[in-house]
């Protein structure tokens, strides 16, 4: 995105952060604090998917990294008595190492095949809980995971807000630096990239492992917040939904995953008793993105912003003309 186009997002982002930090928890009820905390976790996950996407790989198995991070962290805390504060980063590192490991065979695959392999990877990780039911709680799930704080939601809110901001900062920095430029190069033309000395497979593995790290972190955050995880929490549907959040929010902009996640995660909750119908609304949003706003929701904002600017320009020039 051009410099001028990023301005409205920056301003909006700063205002939103201030609101969330200072005003939010004071005036809203516990229910909304809980929602916001969940949104933070998923924003971390979707943004981590974005950096994989930016390198040209469309992954349908990203929640598997959340699973690896979440389960590793939960098991370390529950069975080995680690403090959740230490277990969470450990989970993230475990996820990152898995990312590097599967990056080697998978990052050489062309787009469609990589997507299928990633879907399979997600399925595989989900099914692996069956291997050590004593540790993982198998299909019933792992319960009574040690939590970060006591019963009040507010400390979680702030902790995850900070965690999300750090994640976004790191990912933003990477994306807009030489490494990010290299990722985007490989996505656009692997021929050009490799003939300029870029190790295509290596860069893709890097993207995957960074994405895996932050996904693992978000998985651990979820585990120590909710206290319970099961294979379904991070299974195939969540992986697919992460991609939907990303594409619906907008794949061309860094703010895409943030907006997409916020809107689509909150949808079931604002529907109250019609919660069962929420997926229909998600499907409608997907269809809207496909047919009306292919660049995602963020493109709506940029379109509005540029139209407003155009009108201002026109008003200014007409003033001078008359």
């Amino acid at each position: 995105m051009k410099q001028k186009q990023r301005e409205p997002f920056r301003i909006f982002g700063i205002i939103a952060t201030i609101v969330m930090v200072f005003i939010g928890p004071v005036i809203v009820s516990t229910y909304y604090i809980h929602l916001a905390t969940l949104v933070f976790i998923y924003i971390m996950a979707t943004s981590s998917l974005r950096i994989v996407h930016v390198s040209g790989q469309i992954s349908l198995g990203h929640a598997a990294f959340m699973a690896i991070g979440g389960y590793t962290s939960a098991m370390l805390a529950k069975h080995l008595g680690w403090s959740p504060w230490c277990a969470m980063p450990a989970g993230a590192i475990a996820a990152m190492m898995c990312g590097i490991l599967i990056g080697f065979p998978f990052s050489r695959l062309r787009t469609i095949y990589f997507t299928m392999a990633s879907l399979f990877f997600g399925i595989m990780v989900t099914n692996m809980v069956g291997l050590a039911p004593g540790l993982t709680g198998s299909w019933l799930g792992l319960a009574r995971i040690p939590r970060l704080f006591g019963s009040s939601k507010v400390p979680y809110y702030y902790t995850f807000l900070v965690l999300t901001l750090i994640t976004l900062l790191v990912l933003y920095r990477i994306e807009h630096s030489r490494v990010g430029m290299t990722l985007k190069s490989v996505a656009q033309s692997h021929l050009a990239a490799s003939s300029r000395g870029i190790n295509e497979a290596g860069i893709r593995i890097l993207a995957l492992s960074i994405g895996a790290f932050f996904a693992g972190l978000s998985g651990g955050a979820y585990a120590h917040y909710a206290g319970f995880i099961s294979p379904v929490t991070f299974g195939v549907m969540p992986s697919i939904l992460l991609l939907v959040y990303l594409l619906a929010g907008g794949k061309r902009s860094f703010a895409g995953p943030i907006i997409g996640t916020a809107v689509l995660v909150l949808v079931p909750y604002v529907m109250g008793e019609f919660k069962g119908y929420a997926p229909y609304f998600q499907a409608v949003v997907i269809l809207a993105v496909i047919f009306l706003i292919p660049e995602g929701m963020t493109s709506l904002f940029t379109q509005i912003a540029s139209r407003v600017r155009e009108r201002q320009e026109r008003r200014r020039t007409s003033k001078y003309a008359s």
């Binding site: 630096s177 990010g180 430029m181 290299t182 656009q188 003939s195 300029r196 000395g197 890097l206």
Partner: protein, 254 residues
């Protein structure tokens, strides 16, 4: 001898695209590779730049055996190339395309990018200057901020050339650098190639247009049906009867 191939052969199934080709390129030369359509010229370039693996035979660059090495490794050793299909980074501006191509000169570490270290900043700043210089060299300063995918075809080819230069190649392989260009664009491209050669880069170019090759190159290699059928100076090749037969059919042999 900068580039040497020895008995280079590439078979696809039963078909030999390139057979037993031996070529030598000395440092500082501009060598032209010509031959009728389908003779195997692009295959040869692909073999030398690592995009294809030879069935048999070897490639030696700068004294080292580089047979079968991956393209990015050859790029790091100093082999640069352009493509017929001009792969460029469409979503980037012309300027950013070149900046991106200076990958090898940048601070590629994650730490540098993440923490904006002084080494990182210094290198990026010098890359920006080098990229500007590159644009000026090939004559594309006017379209600096255009998205690469919006550029006319000829400009894209020249941009491809500038990008290839970013790796500071010792050997530059050009695959039909002026095909499909208008007369003005051809002038632009040829000027750029001459300047690049004048600065000391060895050039091996594949081209259809014989008159361009005759005017530009000091040594020519002729390929037909995957085999080398002649080589020498432009005058020698012009008179070679094998070449004449290959291009014009049997009746025109002198």
């Amino acid at each position: 001898m900068l580039l040497r191939t020895s008995n280079l052969t590439k078979r696809f199934g039963g078909l030999s695209a390139v057979s037993g080709v031996d070529i030598c390129v000395e440092e500082g030369q501009i060598v032209g590779l010509i031959g009728p359509n389908g003779a195997g010229k692009t295959t040869l370039i692909n073999l030398v730049s690592g995009f294809l693996r030879p069935t048999t035979g070897s490639v030696f660059f700068d004294g080292r055996d580089v047979t079968g090495k991956k393209p990015h490794l050859l790029a790091r050793m100093g082999i640069g190339r352009t493509f017929q299909i001009t792969p460029i980074f469409g979503e980037f501006t012309a300027f950013k395309n070149i900046v991106a191509s200076f990958y090898l000169s940048a601070d590629r570490s994650l730490v540098g990018s993440l923490f904006n270290t002084s080494t990182y900043r210094k290198k990026e700043s010098s890359i920006d200057d080098l990229a500007e210089e590159s644009l000026r060299l090939v004559g594309l300063t006017g379209v600096r901020n255009e998205l690469a995918r919006n550029l006319p075809h000829g400009y894209q080819r020249v941009l491809d050339l500038a990008m290839a230069l970013a790796i500071k190649p010792k050997l530059l392989l050009l695959d039909e650098p002026v095909s499909g260009m208008s007369q003005d664009e051809i002038e632009l491209a040829l000027n750029a190639i001459r300047k690049v050669h004048a600065q000391g880069t060895t050039v091996l170019l594949v081209e259809h247009n014989i008159s361009i090759v005759m005017g530009l190159c000091d040594h020519i290699v002729v390929i037909d049906y995957g085999c080398k059928i002649a080589e020498g100076s432009p005058d020698e090749v012009r008179k070679d009867e094998h070449v004449i037969r290959a291009y014009f059919g049997g009746d025109y042999a002198a």
